[in-house]
Symmetry: C2
Subunit: 185 residues, 2 copies
DNA sequence: CTCTTTGATGTCAGGCACTGACATCACGAC
DNA sequence: GTCGTGATGTCAGTGCCTGACATCAAAGAG
């Protein structure tokens, strides 16, 4: 395990957040990030598939948490309810990190390439959610539609949570967004 | 206008489709595409912001068509109905191009970078749709939610249309997906 | 205590994506 | 015929990312 300075990955993530906030994503090279983290550029690319991935290291944890919550939901919950339970669980991971989420969102909002990557992660979350619903016996296209709807609710709720001055709970934001979706006609 | 061989852009689009189908996206360089189209690599990048964009040249037309249909929908249509009218109009543009759509989808499905770009275009479509709804007097978050739901319906319907052996109308596929969404509840 | 193994890291060379600066050329306007 | 205009060609350069190989700290075997 750690024979050198420990947590090289964490150091790179923090260095990247700092540099992206200071000069912007495009004005920061992979070598810059590595240097501030005390490693070489080559090591950076051993930990992250590309320069953008350094901002999405926790997306797999989010996905896993959502899937587990969906599988743990009451068996008679309708598909959308189960999927939304997954989104609430995922949101819970961010509960204590409002300030960090705001900074990260600002960085992503400032760069189309990073928005692309975020959309890919959300699509992966939707796909994992749909798989979880299918393993609960939900057939397509209902599984796909419920999963994608839940992720949309997560996006809308998260956006409001991040833009709020006095941060409410993210759970409230997600629940409100879910209610607004159901109120559509 | 055209003082050289006309339709350089169209030639590049066709050359790219051929090469991506033959060897795959990553195994094709921008220089390869340019060469087959009879231009230089530098000219390729004057027409397309990056290598992926060559597959998404028609996305702005799709977006414009959807917006116009939404604005033309009956004023008393509920938000989701109006948004879906936009998706049906957009789908209409593909009606006569099933084979082309199948080939293009296969290329995109084979490469994560292209999927990212497609997600970005769909997000732009959703944002334009939401804007159109807002200009009809729909407030947020209903506008965002209805727009994103409509785009999801478009995606699901399109996917079924593309994977169908004996292609039905794409309008039927979209309408069916919309019905499945409404049946969620 | 020494040797070996293991895995993370460093070093180096190179391909491809993309860009800025400048030259060139075809065609239309006058 | 000259001149302007816009698309194209040419060239040099930066940054992203990868493969191949060397190195080194620490853990385990004897």
């Amino acid at each position: 395990m750690g024979r050198w300075e420990p947590d090289a990955k964490g150091r790179m993530v923090r260095a990247a957040m700092e540099l992206f906030a200071e000069r912007g994503f495009e004005q920061t090279t992979a070598g810059d990030i590595a240097e501030r983290a005390g490693v070489t550029e080559r090591t950076f690319f051993r930990h992250f598939a590309d320069k953008r991935e350094v901002l999405f290291d926790s997306s797999r944890t989010l996905e896993r948490t959502a899937v587990e919550a969906i599988l743990a939901a009451p068996a008679d919950d309708p598909p959308l309810d189960a999927a939304l339970a997954g989104m609430l669980a995922a949101g819970g991971l961010l509960e204590g990190r409002h300030e960090h989420s705001v900074r990260r969102s600002a960085i992503i909002a400032a760069n189309p390439g990073l928005q692309e990557r975020e959309l890919l992660k959300l699509a992966a979350l939707a796909e994992a959610t749909a798989d979880a619903l299918r393993s609960r016996g939900v057939a397509d296209p209902a599984a796909t539609l419920a999963a994608q709807s839940a992720v949309t609710v997560f996006q809308v709720g998260f956006a409001r949570w991040v833009s709020a001055e006095d941060p409410p709970g993210i759970g409230v934001c997600i629940t409100d967004a879910a209610a607004a979706l159901r109120a559509l006609r």
